[in-house]
Structure formats: C-alpha cells, structure tokens
Symmetry: C2
C-alpha cells in the first residue's frame, strides 16, 4: 500500500490506530497453526461500526484486501494475510453492550472473549455455552462456527447467534437476524455469515443466546477395552435420551503420554470423560441408568464425582492432554486434525487414525468430542523439518479422505481457512459453485479475506 | 402455457403425471389461508430427482414459473401460483429412504408427512420433534422453517435439517449439508435454503435429526390473574434452567370461548399449559421447583398429571382451541397472526393484541408458544365481507408493527409468503438487498415461486 492510502486510513481512525510497526505486523502474520506466516501491510484497530464501514468502503474502492483478526487462535491459517493489505484487529471493540437476562440474550462487540463474557454473566446466574478451548473472541468464534466439548448439549456457535451487525465489502451495514427467539421472515442470513471466515463481511456486533447455570453437575470417567466399545456406549447413552453435558474420548496412547508427563497411573486404555448437567435427583437417575448401559457395554471401571475439586480431578487427563504432548516435544508445533463423521462411523474412523499414526511413525494422540462424531489427532511436528511436515500433511490428508468417504466432513469445528481448501470440491460437489456465487455477489472485488475458505 | 410446452413436460414425467384437470388445478390454487386463490397452468407429480431436475431445466429455459406444493397447509399464501405456470406436487415423493437409528438421523423424500415419519420412528424408540399442528409434509415444513409447541425444547425446523438434496432453478442438483452432526466446512447452505419458501430451489431429499422418545412426560396447567404474571413465570422457569418440553399460554377470552363450545367450566383466566420431558426423578424435582416458582409468581391454581389420559385431559382446552372458534362461526375462515417478540416484550404484546381485538370489535383468541415469545391471534372472518377482511388486515398490521417496534419479527413460524411481504423493508432494512441479491444469483430468471418471500 502506498503512503497515500495509509494516510487516508489514518484520517478515518486516527493516526495512533493504524500501525506499520514491524512487531505489530509480525504479531498479525500468523495464527496458532503450522501454516506459514505472512505480513499485512498495515494493522488497524477500529473502535466503531462507522470506522469499519469507512475502512471497508475505502478498501473496496481501492481493491485492498482486508482480513479481520481476533485473538489469532485459528488453526487453519484463517487470519494470515497472504495477499497483504489491511489486518483489521477487533480487540479494541471489546465491550459487552447489553445483558438481557430475562431474554437470555447478550449483545457484545466482536472483540469480547468468551471468558470475559462468562465472568460478567456469572453475576446473573447465566453462562455462554461454547467452549473451543482457546480464549478466542466471540467474533472469531462466529467466523469459524466454533464449538468444542459442550456442543453435544448446547449446540455449536451458529446455534447461539441470534443477530449480527455486519459491515459488507462496500461498507454498508446490515443486521442478519432478530432479537426474537425464532423467525421465519426472509432468508436466514445468520446461517450464512456464521462460519464465513471473514469472507462475506466484518461483524461489528453479535447478539448471542445464553443459558442459566445448571443447578447441579456430575463428572465421570469410564474405561473400556476397545474404542469401539467406548463409542458404542456413548451412542447408547444418547439414544436413551440421557442428556449429556460433555463426553470426550481419549485413546490409550494419549493416556500413556499423560501418565508419562504427569507421573499419574491412569489406566492406559480408551477412556471416556463425561459430564452431566441438570437437577440433582434427575442426575442421580441419569447416572444410575448410564452406569447400567456403560457396564452392559463392556466398561471396565467407572467413577462419578459431584464436588468441583473432584470433578476437576476426574477430568485432569483430558484437560491437560495437549500440554502433555506439547511439553514432551520442545521446539515442535502442535498440528491438529479435525474431522467429524456420523457417529456410527466414529469407532472405525478413530481406529483408522491410530493405524495411520503408527504406520507413518508419527507421535500423536486422539481426542474426540464423541457425542458429535468429531475427533482430533494431536501431532507434534518440527515445522522446520520439511520431511516431517510433509508426512504430517499426508497423514492429515488420509484422515480427511477417510472421513469424506464415510459421509463426514473435512472440519468439524476449526474451519477451512487455507489448510482445507483442497477438499471443498470433494466435500460439496456442485454446491461449491453456489457458495462461490454468493461470495462473488457480496464481495465482487474479492477484498474480504481473499483466497480463504472458498 | 401452450400445448407444446405441456407435451414436453408429459415426455419428461409421463402423460399420467401432468394434470390439467379443473379439479386438480383448483386443489392447487390455494392454501389454508384467507388469501385469494389462483390456478396453476398445470400440476405435475414428480417421482424422482432426475424428473424434478429435467422439469426445472425446461421451465428455466422457457421462463415458466414453478411452485413446489406439499399439503397446502401454509398460512400466508406461499403455494398460490399467482403467476400461473407449473405446480410441482411432491406428494408422490413420499418415501422414508433410510433410518439411521445409531446416528439419530433419517433420510426422507419431501412428500413424507410428520405423522407418517413419527409412526415409523416409534418402532425404533425415536421421534421427530417439530409439530406445527397441521400434518404438513417435511419438505413444506423445511420450506417455511416451521416450528410449533416443541420448539422451546428441541428447536425449529432449521435446527433439525442436517442435509438436503436441492434442485436449483437451472436443474442442477446440490447437497446443502453433511451427515455429520456438525461441520465448519464452507458456507452453511442448509441455513439459507431452509425457510426460503421454494424461491431458491426444490428439495428432493431431506436428512433430519431425530430424538429418543423421552422416558417420562408430565403435563401441567397453571392459572394466573394476569398475562403479565403468567409470562413472567415462564421466563423464571426458563432462567432457572428447568427444561420445559412445551409451554403454551391461552388468554381468558379463549378459555371462555372453549367453555362455551364444550360445556366445560375451566377458569376463564390466563392459563399456562405445560409439558416436561425427562426421567421420573428429575421431573419430580423439576416440578417441585416449578411449583415454587409458579406459586411465588401469583399462580392461582396448579395441577400436574402423569398418565397419558390425564395429560390429554389437562391439555384439552389448548388442543381444541381452534375448533372452539371455528365451530362458533360457521361459514367464516380462520385468520392467524404470527409475531414473535423477545420474551421480555411478550406480556405487553399480548396485552396490546387483546386491546386491539376489543377496540376493533373482532372476535378472536390469543394463544402463545410463550417460551419462545411467539403468539397467535386467531380470528374468525367472513372472507366475502370486504369490510371484515379489511378490519382483520388492519388488525394484523397493527400487531406486526407493534412487534417490529419491540425488536420482534413479523412471523415466528408461518413465513412471509404473499401476506407479509410489505414488512420486509421495515424488518430487515438493507439486509433485504442481500437476500434479493442471493435470490437473483441463484434464480436469475425468477422462475422459482416468483413474487413470494422477497
């Protein structure tokens, strides 16, 4: 960008909020993935919708790429500005604008993080359900349709978004939804903007659904001889209408890695981590029923805990699994696969993934949001070792193709970014042309996060 | 349409499945609303996706309007072919293609009705949750994003659709989703096609989420002195995380009307009809907690029942309310408003609606899906009396404008069709242009249900 363009941007938001500083550019050149970094030409920190609108109108006129940026916690290179241009950093638009406790909705700016929101909501006995692990911004989570461990009960990010204020490529400002809990009026723009990874517009406000904090929680851990049995047990729990708050599968190699890391002596077997939310009497009956089902389906050992400290202890291995891998391989970077399959295909998919890890000589663990059929292989790779990166990519490719062959998706919750684009044709077929036509209609100059997603 | 066009259509699907018969045309000239009928030029009964594709490709080439048709139970004139052309009746594409009990999904053709599906699912201990009242086709329900009494617990139609096979205007066939429980791959086409009222494509297959039949159900009825108190009580129940299966509000005039119709002696007061789904111990605790909340908030009388016969009895007035009105006004037609507001605005909206009914001298009742903020005024009108129709439309207009002024929507579950189009600008502002741009991109010749929705 030449200095004339930069000067005009400084006029829009004020000089101090347009940065060309090398360190600032570097911090906005990457996400948490293994994908190669690239610098933006400038980083802008907007404070208002009007500023975002003016920036986009100007960028659109001059065909300057714009990449919205939150906490940079994406895992497929979503926010890396490969075409340069403007990085629009939303971290200074971080106000909780309104909490409507009676309506169970909140209105926030896109730079609010989920822990920031939950801290405030606790005062009202409320919570925001989506928990992707990282303390991402809510704008970023909407952009990738994030989910995580609680999706099995409360749904994914898309299910929580009631309305968004979005600035389009030409600077015009729209609202995608309504404050009402449901609507059959017009095309459902919420659906198409959530998960659009910054390619259709920049969110400047989000109205999100929140929930009452459950009266009671119980955590559990169940050990099985085989992954098949563990997965089948979860399927049976769900079919029996037992409402599960979270259910995570950790594979034997990962349990072994955790024991090595932390000096514990957990069974190195396929393990389910469970959580139930509800009232106490109901949970006791759920757990009794769940115990019968789990035991019938070959559970070797099973325990449930109610108080907070014991609940945390029971989930310890799951909570700290990624650290156990990261600390075991200093200097290496975490690479995470993210397929999601119909639950009937989960056991075979997890088995295949373990087989490929072994066959390809890769060190890694498997953890699954098993109630949804979504699972991750966690790999430690040396990003400077080309052959290691190549093998990891080849591994990821096999996992994705297996998932697609079983009616699954290439990404359950991380998104496409730059890392999964090669699967779009296989996954969506002619529907991809419809997606591209919508993108072209809404962003004819292709300034919004170009060459991502579609 | 000239006979050449008709002959070509007969070649595509066979002569016996293209009808120009007067009675058949008449049966496809209307829905269940008060909107004026209009005849299509021909009614076609396709059997396969290939046939639908060939018909649309041909219609697109010759700019012939195409209106998809299910059971004709829409309430805003959605299926009335005001521009003539082809009515595509999907009732012969009515096969349940696959029940994947383990995955809690089913694949159906669009002409399958919800009771047909539920009858089959019962064999597996499963059920499909959306219940709009009418025995609509699942294709029709997806087209309008239908919901009804169970949405407060299980969500609306859009929440149940995992994938659809859709034939686009040019005859190409796409899939809008995936069989996996969640995905962050590509733009979310499910969201935009559900609720598109036949204006973006014709659904030829739907993959839908289903649920395990709850172990236990309890029905309840609670009487209040004021609508405000009743609505506040529901808000408190929801905020207390008490999982409600259904909760319906019926206003005093409607209770009076029901007593008159059926010789019963129910209290003629604002009444809540409740249903809870879960395990027995949990429900007992929920009901104990709910009882405390309801009593604290001014409930005058309260009862709960568990066995099926008593449950049906307790809901009698709610179930038969529409009949009580219809039978009281022979020769008249039912007109139903359908706004949905943030729940904090519900009490004042219901009060305003009753005030308008009284002020305008209209006979009618109010029933609300109160957990969602969605409520209907049921009016009996003589469609041949122009002044009565005019007053009813004026009434509906006031209710919609009040809803919009309170952050609500013009339609919670019935859709826009032809009857609510005048509110789109006010409700969606510049977002309407985005919707129109998407429509134009996907249906450039405007053959798909023209002049509806957008």
């Amino acid at each position: 960008m030449d200095s004339k363009l930069v000067n005009r941007l400084k006029e829009i938001v004020g000089e101090e909020r347009v940065s060309l500083n090398e360190t600032v550019l570097m911090n906005h050149s990457k996400d948490e993935s293994y994908h190669e970094p690239a610098y933006p030409d400038a980083v802008i920190f907007p404070h208002t919708t009007d500023e975002v609108s003016a920036i986009l109108a100007y960028a659109n006129e001059h065909h300057i790429p714009v990449v919205p940026f939150g906490r940079g916690t994406s895992l497929e290179g979503h926010v890396i500005p490969y075409d340069g241009g403007i990085c629009l950093d939303f971290n200074e638009m971080n106000k909780i604008l309104e909490i409507r406790a009676e309506d169970l909705i909140v209105k926030v700016q896109p730079g609010v993080t989920r822990t920031q929101l939950n801290k405030e909501l606790r005062k009202y006995g409320l919570f925001f359900s989506v928990d992707p692990g990282a303390d991402a911004t809510l704008g970023g989570m909407a952009a990738t349709n994030a989910s995580g461990t609680t999706a099995v009960k409360y749904g994914v990010m898309r299910d929580q978004v009631r309305d968004m204020e979005v600035v389009l490529a030409d600077g015009s400002v729209i609202h995608t939804g309504t404050l009402a809990a449901k609507s059959s009026s017009g095309l459902h723009l919420n659906g198409i903007f959530v998960g659009s990874e910054g390619t259709l517009g920049c969110m400047t406000e989000l109205t999100l659904r929140v929930y009452g904090i459950p009266e009671h929680e119980v955590a559990g851990r169940a050990v099985f001889t085989s992954t098949h049995d563990a997965v089948l047990a979860v399927t049976s729990l769900i079919q029996a209408s037992i409402p599960i708050g979270r259910v995570e599968l950790v594979d034997p190699d990962s349990m072994r890695q955790f024991n090595r890391h932390s000096g514990t002596a957990f069974e190195e077997m396929p393990t389910l981590f469970l959580e139930f939310h509800g009232n106490q009497a109901g949970l006791m009956q759920d757990i009794q029923f769940a115990t019968e089902i789990l035991n019938d389906l070959g559970c070797l050992s099973l325990e449930f805990k109610e108080d907070l400290a014991s609940r945390n202890q029971i989930w310890e291995a799951r909570h700290n699994l990624a650290y156990a891998y990261i600390h075991s391989a200093p200097g290496k970077k975490l690479m995470v696969t993210d397929v999601c399959v119909p639950i009937s295909e989960l056991a075979v998919s997890v088995d295949y993934t373990r087989e490929m890890l072994n066959e390809m000589g890769l060190m890694g663990g498997i953890v699954g949001h098993v109630g949804d059929g979504n699972f991750h292989a966690l790999l430690m790779i040396d990003v400077n070792n080309q052959s290691e990166v190549k093998t990891a990519k080849e591994f990821s490719d096999r996992i994705v193709r297996f998932s697609l062959s079983r009616g699954g998706t290439s990404t359950g919750e991380h998104g496409i970014g730059t890392g999964k684009r090669q699967y779009l044709v296989e996954e969506h077929g002619p529907a991809l042309e419809v997606m591209r036509a919508i993108k072209k209609t809404l962003d004819p100059n292709n300034i919004l996060n170009p060459n991502k997603l579609l």
